[in-house]
Symmetry: C2
Subunit: 501 residues, 2 copies
């Protein structure tokens, strides 16, 4: 008997986040939810920071309404979300009772599986959110952000897994956001976790496909005992996204492992998103091939394009190479944080500053905070010299307590501020929207009643555009034969024929 | 110590054949040959039927000159070609001395490794070419075309490998042209061959990437002992092409296997083809994602698009589904041939005929020949009933001898015909070009002196086109409403309104 491997489908969250800049409207997902619900996935990932942000910033959709709709349309599925630990879905640390409230509300609105991570792998930043999830009786998944550095070893990651287990997580996720997890470490890591935490500890593997090796890593993780793996339906897969769900099913055929996914459902889901995707081509990731440079630079693709645009804005577009070489230095000085939101932006921007203005001649506020422990602990020691500069810059001392311990209760103030906004409906959900996106929420509340906006092209627009493109390619948009116009001059209309002279 | 896995680079042949319709001009490969030569590949595939055809049909390039140029520019590399057994690089069986002559000339012009295959896996069709290669002292690689059917088992493929060994091949290739080779059979097949033919028998694995599972199959093949694997540089990889070379290198990092490839060289090769590829976008394969339907239909992607265009020409574009269902029936009746050039075209066209005119109401000449053994033996028994129809149609009997045994010496006649052509230089190489492409050779000989034609766009054309496309997308290039101009004619200014008539 083949061992059953469970699968989490990513199309509804990370799939379109990675490939279509998170722009997919709920109405383009609704028609396929029934097939997704029937396909036999262990869970359906459908909510997270970027989708929440995109809902209120671009799509005029209430993210809580989106969650409730998923819940209604997929009654048989575990719904899964990605939660940034103490940052929730925002970019700062929240005070503990806000964390509690968010988790309660998400569970109440239908969330089942909470994948909780911290950008620095500081488990103290996960603790409160994990406790809150456990109180709701929902599934708490503790997450290891996988990265590569001179200090990151399989043993250290396994130690972290043990800490997550001691915190009471229901499963452990290995989250490889930059596709750096090669097959051998994938195998060793899963084996190590199973050995240290016990066979019954569920291990869930999340990889991106950018480097072209991680499908093999999934195979190796499965051979090592991984229980659940993440994939995205083929028509929303590959490039900076994920490995294709259907290929996973076929890959296991004849091995000692099997999925229980329904191929007909997968086929429907694939065809649905193959139809939807071209309408979002404007938002499509430029790069959909394979990029292995990441292994050497350890800099995720998205981070490179960010830095390039920062440099161009400063008229220094030719200094990318220098910045790429500076990043590992800055990362070392900061104690080797994984490069993932927000640490990737913080380290990348500081590297740009260093190249343009001289090393640490100017610090960003965020980098100073990172150096002083205000985001949490890093795996390595931070440079004492740079910490001194950071303290001088930020006019505050380094801390080694959990950052959120410095925060005072803030729910009441957030509530008061939210309720003062035009269009706020007074619900805890609205207060949370305001708490996480204070800049964006006011406009969203004010315009919410206008209803969702679909930012993709209609099928008609797409067809017209394809026709124009074809014409453009063939004729170079030049006049090749006579064209008739109606021309009005001084009130007098005339039929005019124009042709190449 | 990690075991060294050797690599064949496909960019110069199958890479652009699969992705860019074989259109790449020699001048776009010349500048990178030095880096390819230094990278440390076991061999560099650079010649075959489709590249030969494309050279004389589209590029006005002498394929023999191309081979000699590769030889000169890559003095340290084994050059590799794909040879269709008794068909050489053409579509019919050639008489044995023509086969001998071709192989001698290819070796003389610089070819080192001959990968010899037969579309039906009839080893009798490989024998003469293999003997010819052995006489030249070059590397003879016997090839198994991998396919899936109720009759194809690992054991049968292993038996075929043993036959190839007995013929004296220097290595055995598993050629998976439709990306049907899943990880488990890849493992079992390599293990089986090594067991039956001995550990010292070199096993070479060639897979396409279409279904998204074959990178894992390469890993499994390597674990089972495969000596050499085929990949294409990342910028000419994926989709209907192959797995990326750089990803293979990274995949093995930390395992018990390693390649000895030079990463700097790979980086140069990647950048070179990343620059070249967009100029060939017009010829680019439409589909560059992952397609797993092939596993169910067993019909390669290229074959489906062929059938669709045949059906559309007959005004029956809506009957694709019926044809797809008919193909497995026709394939069964024909004794389950692998579907690869030319059997894929023969089976596909007959399926179209069956749907349009009734099952076997009309037969193509090629299908009748296939049924009657004129292409060789198939693994399964052919339908006696359909064979009877074929014999009536073709007015000839079924044969079970090697098809080429029916042929009479033809070199002198071919030579006389070739030499009569305007521009033929009288060399054996020219006679062979005429022998293999009698329809195309006359025009090529007549125009050869005009020199190679590069059918890609120049960088300037590409830039201009991108600009037009952008404009087209934004303005739709068409007048959709009234536009006001100030027009001055003979010193008199007037307000003019123009709108579509």
């Amino acid at each position: 008997m083949a061992r059953k491997v469970e699968v989490t489908e990513l199309a509804l969250r990370d799939g379109h986040q990675s490939l279509l800049a998170t722009r997919m409207a709920m109405e383009d997902m609704v028609p396929i939810c029934e097939a997704v619900d029937r396909a036999g996935f262990w869970s359906v990932e459908c909510w997270g920071g970027a989708t929440y942000d995109s809902c209120i910033r671009f799509l005029n959709e209430d993210p809580w309404e989106r969650l409730r709709t998923f819940r209604k349309l997929m009654p048989n599925s575990r719904l899964q979300m990605l939660l940034r630990g103490q940052n929730l879905l925002g970019y700062r640390h929240y005070e503990d009772t806000v964390v509690d409230r968010f988790v309660e509300k998400a569970a109440e609105n239908g969330m089942d599986v909470f994948r909780v991570f911290d950008a620095l792998n500081d488990v103290r930043n996960l603790q409160r959110a994990m406790q809150a999830v456990r109180r709701t009786g929902k599934h708490a998944e503790g997450t290891i952000c996988y990265t590569v550095s001179p200090l990151h070893t399989v043993d250290k990651f396994v130690d972290m897994a043990k800490q997550l287990q001691e915190m009471g997580c229901d499963s452990i996720c290995i989250k490889d956001m930059a596709a750096l997890l090669r097959p051998q470490p994938a195998y060793d890591l899963v084996k190590g976790i199973k050995k240290k935490c016990g066979k019954e500890m569920l291990v869930h593997v999340h990889v991106h496909s950018t480097t072209g090796v991680t499908m093999v890593s999934l195979m190796k993780a499965i051979e090592a005992g991984a229980d659940i793996v993440d994939t995205a339906i083929s028509s929303l897969s590959l490039g900076p996204g994920h490995n294709p769900t259907e290929a996973l099913v076929e890959m296991l055929e004849g091995t000692g492992y099997t999925t229980s996914l329904d191929k007909d459902c997968l086929h429907q889901i694939k065809n649905h998103f193959a139809d939807v995707r071209p309408r979002y081509s404007e938002f499509e990731s430029k790069f959909i091939g394979v990029e292995t440079d990441i292994f050497d630079s350890q800099i995720p693709g998205g981070m490179i394009s960010n830095m390039e645009s920062q440099l161009r804005q400063q008229g220094a577009g030719d200094r990318v190479r220098e910045v790429l070489e500076e990043v590992p230095r800055v990362r070392m000085d900061a104690g080797y944080p994984p490069l993932v939101t927000p640490s990737s932006q913080i380290v990348g921007t500081q590297a740009v500053f260093n190249v343009l203005m001289g090393r640490y001649k100017a610090l960003t506020g965020e980098f100073a905070d990172l150096m002083l422990g205000y985001y949490g602990k890093t795996i390595g020691e931070r440079s004492a010299e740079v910490m001194k500069l950071a303290a001088a810059h930020a006019k505050k001392e380094a801390i080694d307590i959990r950052p959120a311990d410095l925060l005072h209760p803030e729910w009441d103030a957030l509530r008061t501020q939210a309720l003062a906004l035009d269009g706020c409906n007074g619900s805890d959900e609205d207060v949370l929207t305001y708490a996480m996106f204070p800049q964006v929420a006011p406009k969203f509340f004010a315009h919410r009643s206008e209803g969702p906006k679909n930012v993709s092209k209609t099928a008609e627009q797409l067809a017209a555009e394809t026709a124009v493109k074809k014409e453009g390619t063939q004729s170079s948009s030049k006049l090749t034969g006579p064209v008739k116009y109606r021309v009005t001059v001084g009130g007098l209309a005339r039929q005019v024929t124009v042709e190449p002279a």
